[in-house]
Symmetry: C2
Subunit: 467 residues, 2 copies
Amino acid sequence: MAHCHSPETKMPIEQALDDLQAFLGERLSRSKPDLDAHAGSESYFPPIAPDAVAYPENTAEVSRIAQICHAQGVPMVGFGAGTSLEAQTQALRGGVCVDFTRMNRVTGIRPADMDVTVQPGVTREALNEELRATGLFFPVDPGANASIGGMAMTRASGTTTVRYGTMRDNVLALEAVLADGTVIRTGTRARKSSAGYDLTALLVGSEGTLALVTELTLRLHGIPESISAGICAFPDMTSAVTAVMETIQMGLPLARIEFACAATARAFNAYAGTDMAEQPHLMVEFHGSPEATAQDAERFAEIVADHDASPFRWSAKTEERNALWAMRHNGYYAILASRPGARAVVTDICVPISELARAVEETQADIAASNIAGPILGHVGDGNFHAILLLDPEKPSDLDEAKGISARMAERALRLGGTCTGEHGVGVGKKPFMEAEHGAAWGVMGTLKAALDPTGILNPGKLVPDT
Amino acid sequence: MAHCHSPETKMPIEQALDDLQAFLGERLSRSKPDLDAHAGSESYFPPIAPDAVAYPENTAEVSRIAQICHAQGVPMVGFGAGTSLEAQTQALRGGVCVDFTRMNRVTGIRPADMDVTVQPGVTREALNEELRATGLFFPVDPGANASIGGMAMTRASGTTTVRYGTMRDNVLALEAVLADGTVIRTGTRARKSSAGYDLTALLVGSEGTLALVTELTLRLHGIPESISAGICAFPDMTSAVTAVMETIQMGLPLARIEFACAATARAFNAYAGTDMAEQPHLMVEFHGSPEATAQDAERFAEIVADHDASPFRWSAKTEERNALWAMRHNGYYAILASRPGARAVVTDICVPISELARAVEETQADIAASNIAGPILGHVGDGNFHAILLLDPEKPSDLDEAKGISARMAERALRLGGTCTGEHGVGVGKKPFMEAEHGAAWGVMGTLKAALDPTGILNPGKLVPDT
């Protein structure tokens, strides 16, 4: 250490940790396993651990934690279920990880208004379990059993977005703690409002860089009376995408519409012993009354027949539907299992639907020209897709190759009028593309961040330009 | 004038107007009729005129106007069709009104992606006229033939919001000019994104206080194959609202669901010679396939029958449907005509749906106890309603009484978990309720405003706390 400190003069981080320890007792952890468990995310980024992990139990405690960190200029990084894919929770500049595991309650269910208030640490599956008796559900489904707070902070979405929207569309109101500990409330339980800046929308997707969210009020939806679902294969991506565009333009109320490439079908056959055609597939779901979902499925069958698809096999029976979705839900694991010992880099771009076939085909050609494999899965109704790039962890060149493919995907998305991340967020992985995507607007993001967090203690080093 | 100026030292406003005149020529107007026409809005607020009106024709001109105004610290107030209801365009501190009438082109229609790019001055009706051949439409309908830019700036909505959302949900991307003339782009044509702060959502609803919007990319929707619509009467508001809540919970895809109170029915009978029951009414519309819209209407008929409604009369024929909606669309004029010579104060609150019957009934009781009339219309699917408070322009006490009723409505909305404005915006009229609605978050709005517009030239005096 270059500077000397007298015994009386503590480093700011030491002072903050002492103050936090006095306040939280055992709920401030500095154990090595705990720090390691909060050092990164489900991704290929190197772990960077915080100096301590705080486990608050209520908003007042989060506020007090922020006051202590603010007084010493110590960073705070929020943490939910640790399922983010772009290293959003890496403690780039150390500091305190604020883990919301103990703030995991559903605090108010209002079936008449079809809304619910939750603490940020509740997971998607736990929330839907608690809602079961009401006939309502929370539809945003990113695959992982993420925390609702984390999903809001990355503006998560998933397979049901084409019908029910993203977190942007399903968060009505927030309670949040600012950098200095001030507690604010944004939005109300009214379904809409024109009362000033939409701070709720500003915080959703802010990845913990503007505030720590301590409570969320969410829209709920009725569990559909009936669900029909089916699958079919196409000769190529272009026919599949064209069929989807026609379906959307006809106003057929798709609840899910997912595609999987030929390599994904092959991986799933090997994984589950099925005999799917090794072609691009579409998997589709309709929600509604029994009559409506049957009609929707039949009309979809007619559309895809015009685009050289295999016969659209569909069912409204739960068991058959579950079997059908197994490929999509296990797709990631089937792909991983196709290369024993492999690790994956999961990419994520979103383009206008008219550019989707081109984006997928160019990506496939790029992957084919490389030394690694990368089956593709995606949310075709949104124009969002993922290549699961498979790496040999012993071969550093594989990671370089994957990073190159991912970077070219992001550049391709921007060239085609899209975005470098549809649903995984910026974190560390997509920050290099923010300037190209946003231009001067990225500077505006930095201005907003500096205004709300002038000392830069909220998840520093992420999302906005470095100062 | 208290201060002396040498002939060489111009006032900043004079310098700005000289510079603008040199740049815009005849497209900078200082004529009295033009200033008067830009002094306010469709509302009861006193007119406050700008010093000049600028008519830019493209983004570069808006940017140059901003640079000139910024250099002299002169206010800028954006102006679309002048249909705002809360005096959003009053030039509270003078300056330059930026009128977007000449920026009214539809610059790109992309049917395959179901999106469109427009300049801010295009009106809702002109846009839908241009879209007609595509089979697509832009659904947000605030009633007035507002400009799209103005609708975005007030986060407008209307009768179709229950199905298609507000401007928040239908603006994909923006181009905007900041206070200093910097041009930014927010969002992309991708349907969703997790790439950083949602600046699009921050600008939508900002009422020209953060930037001047120069281009908008909007989501479009397919013109429904079939539309069914119908009407029925209820013994009281509670039964009507309960029927609506049941309908929504059952997942029936309402495209519009509007209510009108007994006094509105009475006014319409007098206006149009109809013989509607003088009771609360619901008017409903379903969009979809012919089979689906018929089934939806039949199911709705069953629901309302359980709530003591009159038989639900519905039709899928265009003529009958248009006749049916005449009451809703002409409701405002029918109500105005019920008091010849009267002016109206149009109120606007939004509450959780479970509180809607109570909010309406308390409002009706408050109006009944006053000396003025105030029929009620609303968007029951959103919990949003308006009392049309009728004033004798010769009686100043009527305006005081209307303001009192409007203030108590806003306070009632907040007490019931709602918002002081569902769709008309803050402007001048709702600013007194911002602190009560947002608490410390109102201060955050002020912080954001100060960060993006440090000299306070963008629509000064509106929306955020006075500094």
